[in-house]
């Protein structure tokens, strides 16, 4: 119980420490959400990807959807690219130093399905004040 409480108290500190470690690398992707339903099962999206690092070097941007890097930069501290995709599943972009290297920063594109696989959920709509 004591260890659990200690762990709970340390969670915010651990989060702060992680933030500090990640500060050196930034990867931003816009947009980050695709909404699909039965009528539009995929989103045609153009992603604006931007990365920055505190240290100049060789960096690549990868995605879950391809084995090859989308683009690599040499002796760079930042970079931008555009990526056009048809999206129907959740996936991530990440920044690293080349094939097989660990991810330095990542961003996940989420997919919100307005249609549940459960037909009752999908077909039912709430009564008077159904707003969610």
């Amino acid at each position: 119980m004591k260890r659990f409480l200690t762990l709970l108290l340390m969670l915010p500190l651990a989060a702060l420490a992680d933030d500090a470690a990640d500060e050196a690398y930034h990867l931003t992707v816009k947009p980050l959400l695709c909404i699909v339903d039965a009528r539009t099962p995929a989103c045609e999206m153009r992603f604006a990807i931007h990365w920055a690092s505190g240290v100049s070097g060789y960096y690549c941007v990868f995605s879950d959807l391809e084995t090859q890097a989308l683009r690599c930069w040499s002796a760079a501290q930042s970079g931008e690219l555009r990526d056009d995709r048809s999206v129907s599943e959740r996936f991530s972009y990440w920044l690293n130093r080349g094939v097989g290297e660990p991810a330095l920063a990542s961003a996940t594109v989420d997919v919100l399905r307005k249609d549940s696989d459960d037909r009752r959920r999908r077909r039912r709509t709430r009564h008077v004040w159904d707003i969610l």
């Binding site: 909404i35 077909r123 709430r126």
Partner: protein, 261 residues
Amino acid sequence: MKIRTACLLLALLPALAAAESPWRLGAALGYGERSNPLAQSDDVPLVLDLDIAYFGERFFFDNGDLGITFADNAGMTASVMARFSSDRVFFGRTDTKFVVFDAAGLPLSEAVELAIPDRDHAVEAGIELLTDGRWGFLQLSAFHDVSGTHDGFEIDASYGIGFRQGNWYIEPAVGLAYKSADLNDYYWGVRPDEAGIALPAYEAGAGINPRLRLRAAYYFSREWSFAVSAEYERLNDEAAASPIVEHDSVLGYFAGLAFRF
């Protein structure tokens, strides 16, 4: 590393629960109102909207509706259901006033108490048929009072379709609700023992309530959205002509920040 994993698990718990759970939970905090068509009544305010639903293999609970699904296939979902009557909601927010004019607008010699009659909740049981496709969704239902409150029935049909535009999801819908004479008269009629100088007796017949609804949500993420909703319902002529009714329609709206677990 363990702490980082624990943080990650804690962050992922809601998503994991949502993926596995038969529960659907959500809440929206904002402001809205639903107008009250009754005379001497207050509008129904809405600050917090909760979405609580459970979908088991056959049994389900969806925000006050209880049901058992007996057919569910690609073409149709059919369930037997139980619910509370929707018309009762307006009678919880009425006031008693003293008036100096009678129902015809003629002056009275002294102030007379005018109270909107009280009405009870009714438990209704029935059947619901649902279908959907690329063309939208269609819902048909028929409910009959099983609590001995109004002994009437209601048949409802509604159609809607959803549109996606970027992070917006917009869903217009239209509907018709047929209310039997027994149901209509229980809620909107005035019985002889309730009548007085300021409130004449009235018997309501059957009628149809048409309605329009528009829901829209802007999604910031899978969980968070800004939701707006508006609904207009026209009371059937028999209800609208009742002496306890001041407005012949009901207008509801809400805007707020919504979270889906």
